[in-house]
Structures are given as structure tokens and as C-alpha cells.
């Protein structure tokens, strides 16, 4: 174990030296302390090369100390599952943590992928748009796919639990820095319900490393005091390790809470959806880098980050540090390092004039200052060793160092503000974008609002590249974007900031350009001779930092993945061997038994020759009642509903405004002004909404009410030659003879027990069939009763798969299976119904369009498939010429029917109704079968069995 921590200072820092923590990095053991981040612990142990860059596999080290980190993205295992691309700068160190570098082979210190760096001129931005065209891109695609990507998804099981929480509050404050804590205490004093969130594990923000006196106290004491005071308030909730990641309309903010994430057991992430009356963003600012050659070498870091590692974690980021800055903030960081005993031989500042106090302090610390100077090039292989710079007199000089602290000014963290719809303006004095105005109730305070303390005048001109080769001056470290890439984008006329971003990929991926966007658009502006304000920013989108998919999905997995509906007799079916599947959101018996195909065949045979019992409860049931109900339904259905007699049933089609079939089912007239509509099971809720929309928005003057009653009534479908005899045995059952209850007849009554029921004689199987509707709570009892009554007749249960096959034999279409978003009633052979309807109905006008009446449209037909038809699948193309297959339609349903004696199918094919007897091919992924177009009814075409 390497426990030296040779870059750890013996004193200071917000770490607990009495609690050492062991961890591994690339299988090497190290030690850090409680309070460390993974990055600070690695730096303390002198680890410089942490990762390899995305495109060119250049060695990279820790660059920052926060969420802006573009380099230190590692695969980390806490014992509860692997997290890919985790930012080492924000990960709290825990015992037995294991971290691995990614995107390198064989190791991070020697990576063969580096050859790409040596051939870099061949791979400029957008190279793949111009090269590798011959003979085709696909020749090379595999190699690029293999090379691309920063990580691989972990294979292991994620043990983390995910919780979602909704929270309302009067005030949400994002950020627990000085500004955020002050705002919180003021709001708490006013009695407001305050939620305050902080992405760090500790409150304090920059005060944790930029110590000052507040209200006569040392800043750390002030933080501790105010935090305790807020914790004690009942009207304040504080969330640490919780990052506000998205800001949406109506002041909805999402917060990713990782306060219980980093542990080996019972790891928990919480995703908060906060709805706040008011939001205060105290999100601080992010220090920006400067551009010069090889500015990506390990050892080059943001100056503020170096200060934070030193002050907060007692870690030295180097022994000899050169400062490169364009603002006072950078100088103060250098003074802080010097005061800690680190050698700071030189500060280079592009400004020609700085505050006298700064110069005096530099003198006091014995730091040489080069004003009006710019860095040219950093030198070193796996770590910086030397910096070349150009003095104000244009002399080229160099200085030896093992670390360079860069500071290109601060940029307010305006991501959330921008997501909220806030507009930004470029502040020339601060050389950054600051919040301007927003339509939502949000305020921005502190550094996030450009209220920097001690920044001084920031020199915007230093966001320019050094005067030398530009293809090694890095703008976006994460995506390996150089100055020359941005110039190339401009040269190729990608002059909009959004286009430039996409062409070069700058600002994309994990860090979302937190340290690259400002420099990139400054360069773009400069190339176009515009100001950064004129160029503008790209659109900020959620999420501010990467959020695990688990946190977004919460407990929506396994059986809770989607809301599922259960039959009231679910357990009864389960006990009888039902195999359930999802049908339109319902868990329904697909078949009963162990072996699928044989079970379905058996069930089909049962219905054709004996009697079958089917749970049709999900069948949509909607009551429409009122004096105008008939008029309303006449417009909803293609069919004439008003002419329906009380107690009668009519089959009807519903169309949308384009004349497309959206649902079908039978409609019963219960009373003069009272109708019961049946819809397909999966469409029931959609049709209720559809009816309400037409009533409320288009025809509110029609007097009626619409009441969905689907789940109130369980429907027991008894089908087969023995169905009448079986049901007639129920005490209190109406006379089921054809005289009293003919096909498409309806009656309602009560059983002897007093239980009300509705019975209708309709058939989707082609056999004599009844649908008995009873209050759902009695379903189990009546299923058992009917099974007992039907036993002498050989009754059995049949599932939905058997039903769907039975209806194929009858040629009945199934909406959504045999129809699609183009099928109109003519395509299904319903011309007569349309022509007979004298009144207007939804979709009528569309059906008059010539295209809708075209005889070459895809029409619904039957298909007799040659051979055994094995392997023929719904969805296969129907073609005339199998040598040059051009799709003329689709096979929509198929099954090997024992009663017909061959494989039969239903499908839609161009002009199908005029092509009876024609041979066609069924083409499915190069498998070809032949079939004959036939009438779609294969079984009992005269309907004698169901009319019996």
C-alpha cells in the first residue's frame, strides 16, 4: 500500500486525519482521509495521470475541484454497483472504494490509443463528414464504433435503491454559499417554508477555501453557526450532496440527492421534484481556463481549484507552481499557495495594469510578476515541466515548474437560470455572461449574479489563443476540441454558435462545457469580429450534471415498471393455470396450461365443439345518457344509432376526423335516452376522453353525460355450442332462446340472489356466444358457478390467444392489429354502412376525398397460405414479384387453423378486394411463402352457428 500521501500537508484542511480510508485506483492501493474527495486523495498520493482523453488519448490529470471537471472521470465501485464516468472531484472518498481509469489500453500510463494523438492532423473536427466515404462509411464504421465512447456500461447488478419525492415550498434556494445561507436565514425569519439545496457534502461554497471574516467571525465559524441555526428551524429543510439539475416551467426544479449514495450497502439516491413559489439561485461561479499550447497537460489546473485542494484538503498540487491569470482572483489563489509554503516563482498576467495592492503583495511574497505577458506553451510528457511565455516586450522566456495554475476569470453558473427561460447578457467588465431577466419567479444572488468579490478587471482579450500553432491549444478538454477546430468550423461557415457546437462537439457530454463554452464562443466571436454578446450562448438544457437513469426512473422497474390493471378474478384464473400477459395494460390470461401452442389449440377446439368460458371484463363499457345521447352517438359512430330500438344492439365503427378507424364495438340502447357503448379493451379510456372532448369542446349544448363503467362490470363470455344450455342453468337467468334473445339481443335482470346482470348475445368467435356482465365483485363466484354448470358439457377456460385465433377464422378484424393509422371503413369493406348513414358523423367529410375512395387502397382480405406456413409472421410484406420485392401490403394476423386445415391469414394489400384468387408472396426478411388472396371469412361464412 502506498500510504505516503507525499503531497498531503501535515496540518490544516477540512479532513479528519484520525479516520484514514483505504481505496484503490487502477488496482493500486492508496490511503486518504475522511473528508477527502477521490480527486483530493489521488492528488495527495501524487497521482498525476488519471485518465486519457476522449479522442486522442492524451494523458490528463485533475483539472478542477468541482462539477466542471472534464478529465477525472472514472469508473467507480462503492460495493453497491459500478458507476461509469463518475467525477472524482465530487465523489466523497469512502472506505474500500475502487476506481479505474477508462478509455485506455493497456494502462492509463501507457495507452496505445495515443497513436491517434501523433496522427492528430488527420482527425480534425468533423473529419467523419468528409473522409472514409469510399467505398462506403460502413466499411470503417466498426472500427470507429469500437474506438468511440469514453466508457462501457457496467455489467454488474445495480444495488442502489432509487426514491422519488415531490416537494412544494415557498422558497427554494440553490446553493449554500454565503449568499444562499444569508437568503435562507432571512426567509426563515419571515416564516416562509424554505428548502435549501447544496451539491457539495458541506455547506459554505467558496468560503470553504476562500477564508474571510463575516460578521466578526471566521468564515468557517460563521458557516457552522448559520447552518446549525437553519437546521433548528422547523420551516427550513436542508439537503446536502443534492444538486439542482433541471429547471422547468412553473418553477419546477429537479434535485438529484446523493446524500445516501456513496456506500456499499443500502445505497440510496433520491430524485426530488420541487415546486417552489419562488427560487433563489445562489449557484456561484466557475473559474475559466486560459488557452495556450499543451494547456491540457497533467499539472495544469484552475487556480481556484489548487487553492481549494490546499485549503480544504491540505493537498499540494505541485511543488513549484506558476500562475497564469487575467484577473485578481487568480492572484489571490497564488498568494494563498505561497503562504502555504509552495514555491510560486512567477505570475503571468496579460493585463498591463493591475491594482497596486496586488503588485505590492506579490513583492512581499517574493513572486516575480510579468504583466502584459501571455503563456505560449507548456512542456512535459505526462506532467508539465516547463512553461514558455511571451513577455510584454515580445521576448520568449520559460520557467520551470511542476504545476501551472490558470485563471481566466469567473463565469456565473447560469445553467439553471437559462433553463428557466432566463435571458443572459454579456458583461464586458466581467468578461462573462450574467443573468438579465426571466419570466419565472427567480432571483439570482452572489457570484451567480456576477457579484464577484476580488475579481478585479478581467481582461477579456486573454481568451484568445497564444500566437503559435493552434492545433495543440485545447478549448474543450473533454471532447479534445482545439482552437483550430473552431477556426475550421468558422471557415466552413458554421458561424452560428449552435452549429459550431455541433460541428466541433465542444461543450457536449459529461461536463456540458462548463470550462469550455465561454472560451469557445469568445473564439467564435473573435473569428467573426463580433463581441461574445453578439454571438450568444448555446441553449442550456437539463441536466446540469449527469443523473443516473435509476434516479430518473425511481421505483419504476419490475412489476411497477408500468401501471398494470388486474382482473377482479385474477387469482381465480391464476389458480387454474392461467399464463398471464400484458394486453393493453391489463394482465390477462393468454392461455391456460403449461405448453402454449397445444393449450391454445385445445382451447380453440373447446369453443368450436363444446363450450368455453372467457374473462372479457376489460371490454370497454361507457354509458351515455341524456335526451341528446342518440344525436351525439350518431355523430360519433359511422352507423345510425338513433334508429336502434331499446334492448337492441348494433355493431359500430368510430372514426377520427380523417376518416380513419379508431375503434369498434357494439352499442346497446338500454333505455330511450340511455346507451351503453362497448369499446376494445385497450382503447376504453382513450375513447372516454375522445367522447368528452367532442362533448365539452364541440357540442356542449347537447344534453348528456358520459360515464365510464368498465371496471364496475365483469364480463363472462360463454361461447360454443353448449353456451346457452350452460348459462340457462343460472338461477334467475332470462330465457336465452333465440326467440327471446336473438343474436345481437340484450336484456338486463337480476339473479335470484338479487345480483343485477346484463346479458347480450354477441359473438367474436363465430359460435353461439353470450356476454354476461355482473358487478365485478361477484366475478369469482360466477366463474366458479358457470364452470360447475358447464361441466357436463365439457366446459373449459380459454384465453385471449385462442380468442384471437377464433376470430381470424371468422375474418373479424382487430383494431390496432389488422388496422393502422391509414385504414378507413372502405378498406375494411364497410361501404354499405357508410352509404346508409344519412346524417353527418366524425370523419364523413374525409371519406369523400377521392384518395379515400380509391379502389387501389390497401384493403382488408383473407390469405390462404401454401404449405404449413410455419414461420409466417404478422408484419410480413405482401409482394407480387419476389425477385424484386416491393411491398404492396402486410400480413396482419396469421395462424395454423385446424378447422380450415391450413395456415390462414388476414392482411391489407393494394386493391385487395379486386384481387380475389390472385397468388402473392409473403416476404419476411428474405423468407418467402406463397399465398392466395381469398375472402376473409374462413369459417361458417353464413353465420349459422352464431345465429343458431
Amino acid at each position: 500500500m502506498n500510504s505516503q500521501q507525499k503531497f498531503r500537508q501535515s496540518q490544516g484542511g477540512l479532513i479528519d486525519r484520525s479516520r484514514p480510508l483505504n481505496f484503490t485506483f487502477n488496482n493500486q492501493s492508496y490511503q486518504g482521509y475522511y473528508g477527502d474527495t477521490l480527486a483530493s486523495a489521488l492528488l495527495a498520493n501524487g497521482v498525476r495521470v488519471i485518465s486519457r482523453s476522449f479522442k486522442f488519448h492524451r494523458p490528463r490529470g485533475v483539472f478542477s475541484s468541482g462539477v466542471e471537471e472534464p478529465n477525472a472521470l472514472l469508473k467507480v465501485d462503492f460495493g453497491s454497483g459500478t458507476i461509469p464516468l463518475a467525477s472524482a472531484t465530487t465523489l466523497p472518498l469512502v472506505d474500500n472504494l475502487s476506481a479505474q481509469s477508462e478509455n485506455c489500453f493497456p494502462s492509463v500510463n501507457f495507452d496505445l490509443g495515443r497513436f491517434l494523438d501523433y496522427t492528430r492532423p488527420l482527425w480534425p473536427a468533423g473529419f467523419y463528414n468528409k473522409t472514409f466515404k469510399w467505398p462506403s462509411w460502413h466499411t470503417y464504421e466498426w472500427a470507429f464504433r469500437k474506438t468511440a465512447g469514453l466508457t462501457r456500461l457496467p455489467d454488474d447488478q445495480d444495488q442502489t435503491q432509487y426514491r422519488q419525492m415531490n416537494r412544494h415550498c415557498d422558497l427554494l434556494i440553490v446553493g449554500m454559499g454565503q449568499a444562499g445561507l444569508n437568503a435562507a436565514i432571512q426567509a426563515a425569519d419571515q416564516g416562509r417554508d424554505v428548502l435549501i439545496v447544496e451539491k457539495d457534502v458541506l455547506p459554505g461554497g467558496s468560503l470553504l477555501f476562500d477564508e474571510m471574516e463575516i460578521d466578526g467571525q471566521a468564515s468557517r465559524d460563521w458557516i457552522t453557526g448559520i447552518f446549525q441555526e437553519l437546521t433548528d428551524r422547523e420551516n427550513v429543510q436542508l439537503l446536502l450532496s443534492s444538486t439542482a439539475v433541471g429547471y422547468y416551467d412553473h418553477n419546477v426544479i429537479t434535485v438529484h440527492d446523493c446524500s445516501a449514495k456513496y456506500r456499499s450497502k443500502n445505497a440510496l439516491e433520491t430524485f426530488w421534484k420541487v415546486r417552489a413559489d419562488q427560487v433563489i439561485l445562489a449557484t456561484g461561479a466557475i473559474e475559466q481556463p486560459l488557452i495556450f499550447a499543451n494547456n491540457d497537460l497533467p499539472g495544469i489546473m484552475l487556480a481556484g481549484a489548487m487553492r481549494e485542494y490546499h485549503q480544504r484538503y491540505a493537498v499540494k498540487c505541485g511543488t513549484t507552481v506558476v500562475g497564469v491569470a487575467n484577473n485578481d482572483f487568480g492572484w489571490r489563489s497564488m498568494f494563498s499557495l505561497k503562504e502555504a509554503g509552495i514555491k510560486v516563482p512567477l505570475i503571468i498576467d496579460s493585463r498591463t495594469d493591475v491594482d497596486e495592492g496586488l503588485s505590492a503583495k506579490a513583492d512581499e511574497h517574493g513572486i516575480e510578476v510579468q504583466l502584459g505577458s501571455v503563456p505560449l506553451k507548456a512542456k512535459g510528457s505526462r506532467c508539465v515541466k516547463l512553461l514558455e511565455y511571451l513577455t510584454s516586450k515580445q521576448d520568449k522566456k520559460d520557467v520551470k515548474c511542476d504545476a501551472i495554475a490558470v485563471s481566466g476569470g469567473l463565469n456565473p453558473t447560469v445553467h439553471l437560470y437559462s433553463q428557466a427561460g432566463g435571458k443572459l447578457r454579456f458583461d464586458n467588465a466581467l468578461a462573462c455572461f450574467v443573468p438579465d431577466h426571466c419570466r419565472q419567479n427567480v432571483s439570482v444572488v452572489g457570484a451567480a449574479n456576477g457579484e464577484f468579490t476580488g475579481l478585479g478587471d478581467c481582461n477579456v482579450s486573454t481568451r484568445q489563443p497564444a500566437p503559435m500553432s493552434k492545433n495543440s491549444q485545447w478549448v474543450d478538454l473533454l471532447h479534445d476540441v482545439t482552437v483550430s477546430d473552431i477556426e475550421l468550423a468558422v471557415q466552413e461557415n458554421y458561424v452560428s454558435v449552435e452549429h459550431m457546437k455541433r460541428y466541433t462537439t465542444t461543450g457536449m457530454a459529461v461536463d456540458q462545457g462548463k470550462t469550455s463554452n465561454l472560451n469557445a464562443l469568445s473564439l467564435l466571436a473573435s473569428s467573426l469580429s463580433k463581441s461574445p454578446g453578439e454571438v450568444g450562448t448555446t441553449t442550456y438544457r437539463p441536466n446540469f450534471i449527469p443523473v443516473t437513469m435509476g434516479a430518473i426512473s425511481g421505483n419504476r422497474k419490475g412489476e411497477l415498471y408500468i401501471p398494470t390493471r388486474h382482473l377482479s378474478a385474477h387469482n381465480w384464473h391464476h389458480d387454474r393455470g392461467a399464463v398471464f400477459d400484458d394486453y393493453g395494460g391489463w394482465r390477462r390470461p393468454a392461455y391456460y396450461g403449461k405448453e402454449r401452442d397445444s393449450s391454445i389449440l385445445k382451447e380453440v377446439d373447446l369453443v368450436r365443439h363444446a363450450v368455453g368460458l372467457f374473462d372479457a371484463s376489460p371490454l370497454g363499457k361507457i354509458e351515455v345518457k341524456g335526451p341528446d345521447a342518440g344525436k351525439f352517438l350518431n355523430r360519433i359512430y359511422v352507423n345510425n344509432i338513433q334508429s336502434l330500438k331499446v334492448g337492441a344492439i348494433r355493431y359500430g365503427l368510430m372514426l377520427n376526423e380523417n376518416g380513419i378507424v379508431i375503434d369498434d364495438g357494439v352499442c346497446v340502447r338500454l333505455e330511450e335516452d340511455h346507451y351503453l357503448l362497448h369499446t376494445t379493451s385497450s382503447n376504453a379510456e382513450r375513447i372516454v376522453s375522445w367522447l368528452e372532448e367532442w362533448h365539452q369542446c364541440e357540442w356542449p349544448h347537447l344534453n348528456l353525460v358520459i360515464c365510464p363503467v368498465t371496471t364496475q362490470w365483469a364480463v363472462l363470455n360463454v361461447a360454443g355450442p353448449g353456451s346457452r344450455e350452460t348459462l340457462q342453468g343460472l338461477e334467475g337467468m332470462v330465457d336465452l332462446s333465440s326467440m327471446n334473445l336473438p343474436h345481437m339481443g340484450f336484456q338486463s335482470a337480476s339473479f335470484k340472489s338479487g345480483l343485477p346482470y346484463r346479458i347480450q348475445r354477441v359473438s367474436f368467435t363465430g359460435e353461439l356466444s353470450y356476454e354476461l356482465a355482473i358487478p365485478a365483485k361477484a366475478a369469482t363466484e360466477y366463474f366458479s358457478l358457470i364452470m360447475d354448470l358447464g361441466e357436463p358439457l365439457g366446459i373449459g377456460l380459454f384465453g385471449i390467444e385462442a380468442l384471437l385465433n377464433l376470430r381470424i377464422e371468422k375474418g373479424f378484424f382487430h383494431v390496432g392489429v389488422d388496422t393502422d393509422g391509414t385504414t378507413n371503413p372502405y378498406d375494411l369493406g364497410f361501404e354499405t354502412i357508410v352509404q346508409n348513414q344519412q346524417d353527418d358523423f366524425i370523419g364523413a367529410r374525409s371519406l369523400k376525398r377521392s384518395a379515400d375512395c380509391d379502389q387501389d387502397r390497401r384493403q382488408f382480405v383473407g390469405l390462404k397460405i401454401d404449405g404449413n406456413g410455419s414461420g409466417v409472421k404478422a408484419g410480413a410484406h405482401l409482394v407480387t414479384n419476389n425477385k424484386n420485392p416491393i411491398s404492396e401490403g402486410f400480413l396482419t394476423s396469421a395462424w395454423q387453423s385446424p378447422i380450415v386445415g391450413c395456415t390462414i391469414g388476414l392482411g391489407t394489400i393494394n386493391g385487395g378486394l379486386q384481387r380475389m384468387g390472385e397468388k402473392i408472396f409473403i416476404y419476411d426478411d428474405k423468407k418467402i411463402s406463397t399465398a392466395t388472396i381469398v375472402d376473409r371469412c374462413f369459417y361458417d361464412p353464413k353465420g349459422g352457428r352464431m345465429h343458431e
Binding site: L14, I15, D16, Y34, G35, P92, Q161, Y162, R163, Q164, M165, N166, R167, H168, D193, V201, L202, G204, R220, I223, T224, F227, S259, A260, R263, N266, L268, K273, G554, N555, E559, L560, I562, P563, T564, R565, H566, L567, S568, H570, P618, E623, K625, G626, P627, H674, P700, N703, L704, V705, I706, C707, V709, T710, T711, Q712, W713, P775, A776, K777
Partner: protein
């Protein structure tokens, strides 16, 4: 069925008579003059519990009175108006959540403002809970009744139990903050 858990009790309430009363918009004013119905977003306790669902839609709930009797009673009261009374005793399920954590469970799946001073006793509102439509009735501060389509009852019960498991995990592992390093 009752599931007693730490700080949370879940009961599936059975044998309730539940009747949906939907009145044609044109008849609502006259109906409310004839009978007293719950005001928007509230539950009214009379012989039956009357839950407001929408501007022309109420749910009539009773433990004592048979749904047929409720239908008859309101049919008589509203004679001459356009309305529909449908028995929903089988179609609507009721789950009762009580205990210190019942609002927290609600917050895990619904965007309702569950703060005690916002979701007050007597409130009745329909929300998406766990992505299904649920009517929430606040009986007492720590006692909520959830009315939902009975086909979703199994799903919602599983969802509540899962949320409670995660909630207990969160409670048990209340993350120790690293504040001690500040001192």
C-alpha cells in the same frame, strides 16, 4: 386487508357502497339548489360521504346504505334533470393510509402539495399517483383515503409497499453529514 408497518398503516376498505353521480352541465345549478353537494375540492359528510370529482361529477360513498338505495334517493331528488347515477361499488377501490408517513408516501408518487396547511382536512382532489388517477380525501391530518379504479388496486398496493420499503431504508440510513470536519 391491512398492512401494519412502521409509521404507516395500509387498509383496503371493502364493502362500501359507491355511486357515481354525474349531472349534465346544464342541470348542475338546479341540482345544487335541490340537494347539497360537496363544493369543489372538498368532501362533504352527510348521510353519505359526498366527494367532489369535477364540476358536474360527485362520488357518493356509504358504509351503511346500499347502493341501490342511494341511487333511488338521488334519482327521486333529481327527477326531471339530466343526470346519470351508476353503481361503482365494484369499479372503485378504496385504500386508507394512516400514520405519520402517509403524506410522505403520497409525495413519492404525486405532485400534490401535501403540506399539512395546504392539503387540509376535508380536502378531496384527484391527482396522478404512481401514474394512475387517484382521488385523495383527507379524513384527518394523518389519515388519507385513496379512491381509484379497482383494476389498479393490486398495482397501487404493491407500489405503496415498495415506496414504504424505500422510505424506511432512507430513514434507517439517514446519512450522517460530514459537518464534523468543519469544527
Amino acid at each position: 386487508m391491512s398492512d401494519k408497518l412502521k409509521n404507516l398503516e395500509i387498509i383496503q376498505v371493502e364493502n362500501l357502497s359507491i355511486v357515481s353521480l354525474k349531472i349534465d352541465q346544464a342541470s348542475v345549478n338546479e341540482a345544487t339548489e335541490r340537494i347539497e353537494l360537496a363544493k369543489p375540492l372538498t368532501r362533504m359528510k352527510t348521510e353519505e360521504d359526498i366527494l367532489w370529482l369535477a364540476p358536474n361529477h360527485w362520488l357518493l360513498v356509504s358504509k351503511a346504505t346500499d347502493s341501490k338505495m342511494i341511487v333511488k334517493k338521488y334519482t327521486d331528488e333529481l327527477t326531471g334533470l339530466n343526470f346519470n347515477l351508476t353503481d361503482q361499488s365494484s369499479g372503485v377501490a378504496v385504500i386508507r393510509l394512516s400514520g405519520l408517513c402517509c403524506r410522505e408516501i403520497l409525495s413519492m408518487g404525486s405532485g400534490l402539495d401535501c403540506r399539512i396547511d395546504k392539503l387540509t382536512i376535508g380536502a378531496c382532489c384527484t391527482t396522478n399517483l404512481a401514474r394512475i388517477p387517484v382521488t385523495v380525501v383527507v379524513i384527518e391530518s394523518g389519515l388519507l383515503e385513496l379512491y381509484l379504479d379497482s383494476s389498479y388496486e393490486t398495482y397501487l398496493m404493491n407500489w405503496i409497499l415498495d415506496c414504504n420499503r424505500i422510505r424506511e431504508l432512507a430513514d434507517a440510513n439517514n446519512h450522517p453529514m460530514r459537518l464534523e470536519v468543519l469544527s
